[in-house]
Each structure stands twice: as C-alpha cells, then as structure tokens.
C-alpha cells in the first residue's frame, strides 16, 4: 500500500475587537456580569431588526487584503437556522453564497521552504452566547453577552498536509490579525477558535472522505486533534475500513474525538438570504483606504530580516511574529547606535523571556527602543560586561529610565584601569595555584577559570578581554 497523506483544511473564527457588537450598539466586551451587555436586538426580542456595524466590514476587508483575497464589492448576509439555547433568534446571521472576501492565499515557511495555502473565503457573522453549567442548577444557564460579538470566519482550501503546517499556518494567521489590529487573539477568552477538516488519501489519488473536528479551542489543541484524527483514520484505512463523513467533537482533556453527527443526521441549516438586511456594498475608495492602512505584514518582515539584517529564520520569526517586538527591533536599529545582531539577540533572548514570564506585551514594558539601542551600544563598546548588561536590561524593562543612569546608579561600569587589573591578575594567580600549574602543563583552557575568578573578585566590573590579556602576559613572563 502506498503511503497515506493527510489533507487538512481549517475554518478559523476570530472575534473582532470593535467597540460595539455586529448588529446593535451594545458594547463588545469580555467578562461583564451575565446578561449585562444585551439589548432587545442581540437578545432577539420579537420585532427587533439588525443594523450592520461598518467596522466589521472594514476589518473583514482588511483581512481579505492581507490574505490576497478577491474582495466582493457587493456581498450578502444569510440566515443559518438551527436551535440551541445560546442562539436567541434560532438563526445565526452569517454569509453563505456571497461572502465579503473570496479566494486568496497565504505563503508560510515550513522547514525554510515556502508553502502556499489557498484561502477559500472570509465571511462575517455573529457569535452566539455562552452556556454556563452551574453546580447549584441542574440545567443550563444562558448568558447572552457574547451574542452578536462580531466574528470573521477564514476558510482554507485543503492545502495543509500536516499538523506542523497547520500550526505554522495558524500562528501566521494570528500574527496577521494582530498586525492589522482587528483581533485580540486571546485564546483564553476564546477569541480565536477553529474547526478542522481532516482526510487521508494516497498521494496522486483523489481526496478521501473528510471528517470535521469541532470545539478546537487552541492552536496546540488543533495540533493534537489533527494528529489524533490522522492516527484514527489511518488505522481504519489500514484495516480496510471506510472513512465515513462525520462531524466529531474534539475533547482536548481526554485527547480523543467523539462522534457528534454522521451523514444521516447531518445538520440542515436551511440557509436563505437575510431579509432584514440589504446588500453589503464596499466602494473602491473604501478598499483603497483600507489597503493604505495595512502595515508590512510579518511574512514580508521575516524575509527582509533574513536578507537585510542577516538574522536566521528562527530569530526573524520570533521578532516579526509580534508587531510590538518588530517595532522595537526596527526602531532600535534606526537609531544607528547598535548592531542588528545585538538588538536581535536581546529581543529573542532576555526580552522574550521577560514578556513570557510576566505575561506583558513588549509595549506594556517600560523599555524604549532608544534605551535598548543605548544598552546594546554600551555592551558592544565594553562599557559594561555582558552580565551587567542583563541586569540593566531587566531594570529598563521593569522600571524604565535611561541606560546611562542605571549603569552609574548600580556602579556597573566596567573597569579597564591597567593598574587595577594588574593587581587583580596578581591576586588571582596567587590564589589559584592549581589552575596556574594546569595552564603551564599545557591545559590552555584553565585560563577560563582564572578569568572567571577575576570577574568574580571584581564583581563583574573587570573588562574580561583586558584581564585575559594581562593574566596571559603574566603567566608567560613567569615561565
């Protein structure tokens, strides 16, 4: 049997960070008291009518532009009908036949190779409410605050071939959403969710029957879910079984997918044009204005960082992924005070660690691009040691201020005074007989220990390059 290949398509739902909901003037906010952000429209009271928020269209078009989609200047809203307690009107206003954005594509880098993933469409729709399962109540409680929160749904072609590609694609989408400023992408608030379609086939043969995986609430869950589905389907095929068209629910805690619906009891959503709304019309001027608002996107940045600044792909990705990291990097370089390398090292290293540890974003720290440049400059020029530089950077991140002031306040300026260093070298040579003997017996790396001791004695202030030269000189003259 030829090797099976997995074929994956994604449907990504992202909540848009507009001020108000998609069809009414209620605040679009997370975490408010139950049913405190509702009005007759979003709770679906009889007689109410929706009014479409222009920002939602703008944001969807922006995403469409970022993903090279055809923009439909005239699109239509449709009703998707189904009963569930989180859906007050018993239909979701969405787009079916004519979405706001049509075909597009996104290039992603997988193992340093470019892969093009086709985008089928992007459409706008409303979110449903939240169901709460409470210990003190036997039924389900319905909080409708989230009803009418605007969503875009990005649907891909079945162009993804592995869970790794899916992860990279999702990370790219998240990065773009942040860059164009249309979604918070906070996983814990459920602001990005996805459905995953997985099928298996032998290469060069038609695509297999797909299964849809619902309830995938994080990128890592998407990876796990896809891997599980690949294994499950492979096992069936290898046992000469048939894959059935199914909708399955991903249980990330248990790491299994569970059958929700098969072909026989598939949902029939009975889509039809939403009669309470007119056509969504986007003018050429509006599209051009939105185009102008789109910054350089992360994929382009990454490639530029590699070719212009000589960063490797990992570093370039780490910096370009998050808009404020990239901004810090680029502003820092613009000062002309430091090398690309040292700025990149600090951002990928200490700064990334700091934001990960504190949960802050780079822009929420006290560090400015100018001070990062000053710091890199001081370290490059040997004004401070690399260990001191770490201390200063931490101070800049947490409390701000200027590099110069922090160095002098903490007394971290590196000592390169010849007389002091000579004395220090004598002290180290006298106290470390064994290392000195080792060195004389040809173990040249014993010098490292001696330098280390010198740094320790000087509390990190000795210029490491200079002290090395002095110790070497003294040892050689002693011979």
């Amino acid at each position: 049997m030829a090797e099976l290949e997995s074929v994956i398509g994604l449907e990504i739902h992202a909540e848009l960070k507009t001020n108000t909901k998609i069809f009414c003037g209620c605040k679009n906010s997370f975490g408010a008291a139950p049913n405190s952000q509702i009005c007759p429209v979003c709770m679906g009271l009889p007689g109410t009518l929706p009014r479409l928020n222009s920002k939602v269209c703008d944001y969807a078009v922006k995403m469409g532009i970022a993903l090279n989609c055809e923009i439909n200047k005239v699109s239509r809203m449709d009703r998707k009908n189904y009963f569930y307690p989180d859906l007050p009107k018993a239909y979701q206003i969405s787009q079916s036949d004519i979405p706001i954005c049509g075909k597009g594509s996104l290039d992603i880098l997988v193992n340093d190779k470019v892969r093009t993933i086709g985008i089928t469409r992007i459409h706008i729709e409303e979110d449903a409410g939240k169901l709460i399962h409470d210990d003190e109540y036997s039924g389900t409680l319905c909080d409708l605050n989230r009803c009418g929160v605007p969503l875009i749904e990005i649907v891909t072609e079945p162009d993804i071939r592995s869970s790794e590609e899916a992860r990279i694609f999702l990370e790219n989408i998240r990065s773009i959403l942040r860059y164009i400023g249309i979604s918070d992408c906070k996983m814990q608030e459920g602001s990005i969710r996805c459905d995953v379609n997985v099928s298996m086939h032998e290469k060069g043969t038609p695509l297999g029957v797909r299964c849809e995986l619902k309830n995938v609430n994080s990128f890592s869950a998407a990876v796990r879910g896809i891997e599980y589905e690949i294994k499950r389907q492979t096992a069936i095929i290898e046992n000469n079984g048939q894959i059935e068209r199914e909708t399955r629910r991903w249980d990330d805690k248990k790491g299994v997918s569970i059958l929700m619906r098969n072909k026989e009891n598939a949902q029939d959503y009975r889509f039809f044009p939403e009669p309470d709304l007119g056509a969504v019309v986007i003018s050429d001027e509006r599209i051009n204005a939105l185009k102008a608002e789109i910054p350089e996107l992360p994929n382009k940045k990454m490639i530029r960082y590699v070719s212009e600044y000589g960063l490797n792909y990992f570093e370039a990705f780490m910096i370009a992924d998050v808009p404020d990291k990239a901004e810090l990097f680029e502003h820092c370089i613009k000062t002309g005070k430091c090398s690309h390398r040292s700025a990149a090292n600090r951002i990928v290293g200490e700064i990334t660690k700091y934001v990960n540890d504190t949960g802050k974003s780079v822009s929420e720290t006290m560090l400015t691009a100018n001070e990062l440049a000053e710091l890199c400059h001081s370290a490059e020029k040997g004004v401070i040691s690399s260990s001191s530089a770490k201390i200063v950077l931490l101070e800049l991140l947490s409390s701000g201020g200027s590099t110069e002031n922090i160095i002098s306040r903490l007394g971290l300026a590196q000592n390169s005074d010849d007389e002091y260093l000579s004395k220090l070298a004598d002290e180290v040579i006298a106290d470390n007989k064994r290392s000195v003997d080792d060195f004389k017996n040809g173990k040249t790396n014993a010098i490292g220990h001696l330098i280390g001791q010198a740094m320790k004695l000087s509390k990190g202030k000795a210029d490491p390059q200079k002290i090395k030269e002095i110790i070497l000189n003294k040892l050689k003259t002693e011979e």
Binding site: T18, N19, T20, C24, G25, C26, K27, A33, P34, N35, S36, I38, C39, P40, M43, L45, R51, L52, N53, S54, K55, V56, C57, V74, R76, F83, Y84, P85, D97, I98, L131, I132, H133, D134, Y137, S138, G139, T140, L141, C142, D143, L144, K214, N215, R249, M260, D268, R270, P273, P275, L277, G278, A279, V280, V281
Partner: protein, 88 residues
C-alpha cells in the same frame, strides 16, 4: 424525492399529534402540491438593495436588565435557563 414529514417536524422543532398525524400529512402534501407549480429558474443570485451601515459607536439603551429578563419564565443568577444541554 421522498418527503419525510417527521423529519421536517424535527427540523422545525414541532411535534405533530399522533391522532392528527395522517390528516396533517395529507393536508401538508396538498399544500406542497399546490405551491410546487412554479416555472424553472435558470439563475439564482438574489442581491438585495444596498443598505446603510451603522457607525461603530456604543449606544446606551434606556431599557433596564429587569425589563429585558422580565418575560422569561425562569431566571437563575441573571441567566436564562434551559434543560441540560448535551455538549456538542
């Protein structure tokens, strides 16, 4: 194609009385027969009239939460209630 009245009732979340079922089914089929006489259509792309969009500005409603929740037959912890949902 076969028309499955029970399946349609399920989709509509309606229960048809067992005693009335055969009457209902006959009547329903009559209705379908009546409306099915329509000319074939070659194209289908309904584009409604363009609409005006709303600015993204918060509107404060003067309707209180108690008025909005007041028509529900049960409210628990400021929430509407439903029988236990089977997670899906």
């Amino acid at each position: 194609m076969d028309i499955n009245v029970r399946k349609i009732a399920d989709l509509a979340a309606l229960e048809i009385d067992k005693e009335k079922y055969s009457d209902f089914e006959a009547q329903f089929m009559d209705m379908i027969k009546m409306v099915s006489d329509l000319p074939e259509c070659s194209e289908y792309d309904i584009i409604p009239e363009p609409m005006e969009l709303r600015d993204d500005i918060v509107e404060c409603s003067d309707i209180s939460q108690s008025e909005l929740l007041g028509n529900a037959c049960e409210i628990v912890k400021d929430c509407f209630t439903a029988p236990q949902t089977v997670e899906y």
